[in-house]
């Protein structure tokens, strides 16, 4: 009986069906154990499951959602025009009119933070999209290609990335011309894909010779078909954590670059470019110009980090032997 099943639906799905039968049978067994001991047994089972669950970063998710919603819908509640330079009130301390004070160009910081958050988050997401795309394609090509090509590709990318990140960005920026949101995302994206590419490559190498990949190739499936339908489902869970972490480091890079004067110019407001004026703030002792944008930046980054590490299962899932 079971042999026929294998022939009909293939080994993969047959084993799935078999395991479903097993589960059904187990469920029936549980249901059969009615009464006090039966419910007790079920309760114990449930406790086990609850213990296995990873801690969910509820607080981080909520905070991040609030920040994102606030940034997207900032027009609804910000009191001032973030671009308007109120020169009569430059570098004003936080007060009732300017909640977070104004910067040295007279712009209202509270409005700027919400307005600029959009750009920061957008750059984080776009840069991650760029780096993930490059990483997945590069990793898959490298993993599927013959050994010498694989070694060559990996070595080449290592060399390219051995140019210090900062210098690479400066050079690329110079090549691409005046910085805007897209060029910055692109530059950050193409400097931060190596980690993911390595993981994709390793995973691809492990499954490149499995039957379903070969079968798909024989049936004429192209590179992207195989990548999307057969490889991606295998590596997506292991790169998820790194992808989320890439969002974080992209936002971090953007702020660092803008601060150093090689990222976004002053008139495109983001959390990083708001800190460009920090040296002037240091001279005039305007602490609010440094503190508030930085605080928003850090809160967002911490939230993203927490969400990212919740996606990754740590070593703590098993009992310690010690």
């Amino acid at each position: 009986m079971e042999d026929k099943w294998f022939e009909l639906v293939g080994r993969e799905s047959a084993s799935r069906v078999l395991s479903e039968w097993e589960e059904d049978r187990a469920g029936e067994r549980d249901r059969a154990r009615s009464g006090f001991w039966g419910s007790f047994w079920q309760k114990i089972n449930r406790i086990k499951i609850r213990k296995k669950k990873r801690n969910r970063p509820v607080l981080s998710l909520c905070l991040l959602l609030i920040v994102m919603a606030g940034c997207l819908g900032c027009e609804l509640f910000i009191p001032k025009d973030p671009l308007y330079m109120d020169l009569a009130n430059y570098a004003h301390e936080p007060c009732r009119e300017f909640w977070f004070g104004t910067d040295t160009m007279g712009r209202d910081l509270f409005s700027m933070i919400w307005y600029g958050g959009r750009i920061s988050l957008l750059i984080g997401l776009t840069a991650t999209a760029v780096s993930t795309l490059i990483a997945v394609i590069f990793g898959a090509v490298s993993g599927l290609s013959p050994r010498w090509l694989d070694a060559l590709l990996m070595r080449l990318s290592e060399i390219l990335l051995s140019v210090p990140g900062l210098l690479l960005v400066v050079l690329l920026q110079a090549v691409l011309g005046k910085a805007n949101v897209w060029s910055i995302s692109f530059v950050i994206g193409i400097t931060g894909w190596m980690g993911i590419a390595k993981v994709v490559r390793t995973e691809t190498k492990q499954i490149r010779n499995s039957e379903y990949v070969t079968a798909s190739k024989c049936m004429g499936g192209g590179f992207f078909h195989v990548l999307w339908n057969h490889l991606a489902p295998n590596f997506i869970s292991s790169i998820m954590f790194m992808v989320v972490m890439n969002v974080r480091s992209a936002i971090l890079s953007e702020s660092t670059l803008s601060f150093m004067g090689i990222g976004l110019p002053l008139d495109i407001i983001s959390w990083g470019s708001m800190l460009t004026l920090a040296d002037k703030a240091l001279l005039s002792g305007a602490w609010w110009m440094i503190l508030f944008p930085g605080a928003f930046l850090i809160v967002t980054l911490v939230c993203i980090t927490n969400i990212g590490s919740a996606l990754k299962d740590g070593a703590g899932s098993r009992e310690s032997n010690l």
Binding site: I159, M242, M260, L297
Partner: protein, 337 residues
């Protein structure tokens, strides 16, 4: 290597290193030339913008910038092989001299920072693993997650604001007070703030790695055996687990060198600390080609060397890696390296 000839193995490594350096020099040379910008400005200053066309042509010819890029590259390689890296356009002296005057400062900052990170991350990692999931571990993990999210430049700004601008107890920029270059006390005084930031910026990442490595190690079977034998927790942890974790830790630290270096670059620019970081930033922005090349080769060389060291350590520990399996150390992305 097939486990037979160590000379062939290390020879291959050395050859790979030089090949990598050659490719690197080629890439940087071309990218730098592609970037629009006027190297004459960094040589002649503002005057370059007002030059007449023929003056300009003469100046370009004098610096050898009118040849095709490939000719320039070959000329550069020839010079470099003889140890002549050309002159810096901005400082008008030999590139090696310019760098030689600055590299000590960077080594002092980065090197001391590296040693501190090396020691403290090991201690923190052990501490966290010892108290796994208990109060100290949780607190340190929380604090660590937050500190790892604080951008280095922002922390520098806040510390400068607190200690230099408001309290006036620590200097906010430079490596020494003008005219007191030899004074060691003064040096240390200037190092405190940048060093704090170098260490806090990286400490947690590596502490976390070693914590996880130890936690993995604790879950292996020999620990159970040792415990059944009646060994104390301390003995198992320090004599057995730690010894097994050490090689992995060494290779992690080898990879950390470029990251710490990258962080140092950013911190140097914030503190206007006269080191390699500020120099490379300047040279890249103002098309000081010769200086840029040497700086890129220098830091690129360190990165390649460290990656190779990490790989070699891993291969020596676990020969299976040589058959092309990943070494399991995830890279940190971003500006770090």
């Amino acid at each position: 290597m097939n486990g037979k000839n160590p000379y062939l193995y290390y020879g291959g490594k050395v050859l790979g290193f030089f090949l990598s350096m050659a490719v690197l020099s080629f890439v940087v040379f071309y990218i730098a030339r592609l970037a629009p910008g006027d190297p004459l400005v960094s040589y002649y200053g503002e005057r370059a913008e007002k030059m007449a066309p023929d003056e300009r042509a003469a100046a370009t010819g004098k610096l050898g910038l009118d040849d095709p890029v490939s000719v320039q590259y070959i000329r550069w390689i020839r010079g470099a092989l003889r140890g002549d890296f050309g002159i810096s356009y901005k400082y008008k002296t030999d590139v090696t001299q310019v760098i030689g005057g600055r590299i000590g400062n960077t080594l002092l900052l980065g090197g001391t920072g590296f040693i501190l990170i090396f020691v403290f991350s090991l201690l923190l990692g052990i501490l966290c693993a010892w108290f796994e999931d208990r109060f100290p571990d949780r607190v340190i993990c929380k604090i660590g997650t937050i500190t790892s999210c604080i951008p280095e430049f922002w922390l520098s700004l806040v510390l400068i604001l607190i200690f230099a601008v408001n309290l006036h107890i620590l200097p906010g920029s430079g490596a020494y007070t003008a005219g007191r270059e030899g004074d060691i006390k003064d040096r240390i005084w200037h190092l405190i703030l940048p060093m704090t930031i170098v260490v806090t910026g990286h400490l947690w990442y590596y502490a976390f790695m070693i914590r996880n490595k130890i936690l993995e190690e604790i879950r292996s079977d020999y620990v159970l055996l040792a415990k059944a034998k009646g060994l104390s927790k301390r003995r198992i942890m320090f004599r057995q687990c730690l010894r097994n974790v050490m090689p992995a830790y060494l290779s992690i630290m080898a990879i950390s060198v470029p990251h710490i270096m990258g962080g140092t670059y950013i911190i140097e620019t914030v503190f206007s600390y006269p080191g390699i970081g500020t120099l490379s930033y300047e040279s890249a922005r103002f098309q000081d080609y010769n200086l840029l090349m040497v700086l890129c080769m220098l830091s690129g060389g360190v990165v390649i060397l460290c990656n190779m060291a990490a790989q070699t350590i891993n291969e020596l520990i676990d020969p299976r890696i040589r058959s092309g399996r990943d070494n399991g150390i995830s890279e940190v992305s971003g500006l770090g390296g």
